[in-house]
Subunit: 266 residues, 2 copies
């Protein structure tokens, strides 16, 4: 059986833990909350949680581990953050030092895992409502742009918001807004619609990250807060050590993506 | 002019800061988010934020101060937490030591303020939809009960959830659910409906806190997570110092109570 068609999250995470699956997780385990990750030393954790509270649209916190404990019981059964993500990025002093498939050798007693919601959740909901999601149709990564929207700082964490852009047919923009607004744990409602210059974006065909997609006649560019924001902010803070997932290689939780709260009932 | 009819939050907070208003804040500044408060030493703040993240219905975080900084810029203009709440309770080692109208003399460089959403927000929304709120009609405090619902622990913080009960006409229960669900920053949807024994409540006429209200024929008791929960949890943790608002004497913020995120744009 292709693991991409597997519905049992436990089996998917077991394959990831065993190292037999190291791909991206887009479209896997439909209905389950997938998470961005930030793993950082405890001395920075309070400031990082403050930063996320002050910037909830790019940084919706859905789980926080105990200090030094690699397990995430509030997000699912037997989730070990050292092994249960397909690919990780390790940053030292703000520079990418390695990309690995587990972090067993890097785990330390002072690390804290912060899990953040991701856009897969509202993209799934848009598609269920027959609202097209261009980059998924095209089989490419979502276009992402550094905006001029300042983040509310906390401690060493500051910067501007990164946004994603999805072209939406004009008559579906309100519906797309209302659907995504139902998922505050996955960036919520769009932060802007229309003219990219209002966000300081010069050219929609030249994203800062991801791939360009076409905005067709009758479509409006719609912008959402993006989970790359906290990753950039963490890098700019030049922490001695910081570990994230590799883009698209998410933690798949046992929590339903439409749950009122992201707390798994053991 | 009676301060209770004042619409300008700045004027209300100025009167509170000046010590000329020390009453409860129920019904004041309609449309503005009011907040429960927990002020605690920074060494406990990371665990307390973890606790709130794991128990978001009783503990919806809407603001976190810098360590040692009494200002709360993300909740409004010129909010000084030392003076801008009508009445405070000071707890030492888990015991109420004093009730005061400002905490200027108690402020320390290691204190962190955590502001939490409160039930006024969804009660206002229920009343706007002509759903009766019995304890407000009766002019008494909402009945609160210690439930048997265990909280997810974090560090020294643990215990059972405190719930409020409001009798709702049977044909309005679904609407009351859906309205309150729109306010995740104010306890969100009810946690239970009907038989109190499912929550370990022996007698609805004998609340643990607040005042009893009558459940009339055709009405159903509906239970919501309660902001007294984190206060009890803080007391049980027996922190050397912890300051809360006095019940009903809330911080009135500049944030709209129906804002998507509780972040004031300065």
């Amino acid at each position: 059986m292709n693991l991409r068609d597997e519905q049992d999250v436990t089996k998917i995470r077991a394959a990831i833990r065993a190292g037999s699956f190291t791909g991206h997780t887009s479209g896997m385990a439909p209905g389950k909350l997938q998470c961005n990750l930030a793993i950082l030393p405890a001395e920075y954790a309070l400031d990082f949680l403050r930063f996320c509270q002050r910037n909830p649209k790019p940084c919706p916190v859905v789980g926080v581990s105990e200090t030094g404990d690699p397990m995430l019981p509030t997000l699912g059964r037997d989730i070990d953050i050292r092994t249960d993500v397909p690919r990780y990025r390790v940053f030292r002093d703000g520079v990418l030092s390695e990309e690995v498939n587990d972090i067993n050798d890097l785990w330390r007693d002072d690390l804290v895992t912060v899990a953040l919601g991701c856009s897969f959740t509202f993209e799934n909901a848009l598609m269920r409502a027959d609202i097209p999601v261009r980059h998924i149709e095209d089989g490419v990564n979502v276009p992402m742009f550094r905006s001029n929207i300042p983040l509310v700082p906390a401690g060493p964490f500051r910067g501007d918001m990164v946004v994603t852009m999805r072209p939406i047919p004009e008559d579906l923009v309100t519906q797309a807004h209302d659907i995504s607004a139902k998922y505050p744990q996955a960036h919520g409602a769009p932060i802007a619609t229309g003219d990219p210059s209002q966000l300081g974006i010069a050219d929609l065909s030249k994203p800062d990250y991801g791939d360009p997609v076409q905005v067709r006649a009758g479509e409006v560019p719609v912008y959402w807060a993006c989970g790359v924001t906290p990753q950039n902010v963490l890098l700019d803070a030049k922490l001695p050590l910081c570990i994230t997932h590799s883009p698209g290689h998410m933690l798949i939780s046992d929590v339903a993506e439409d749950a009122e709260t992201p707390i798994y009932q053991q």
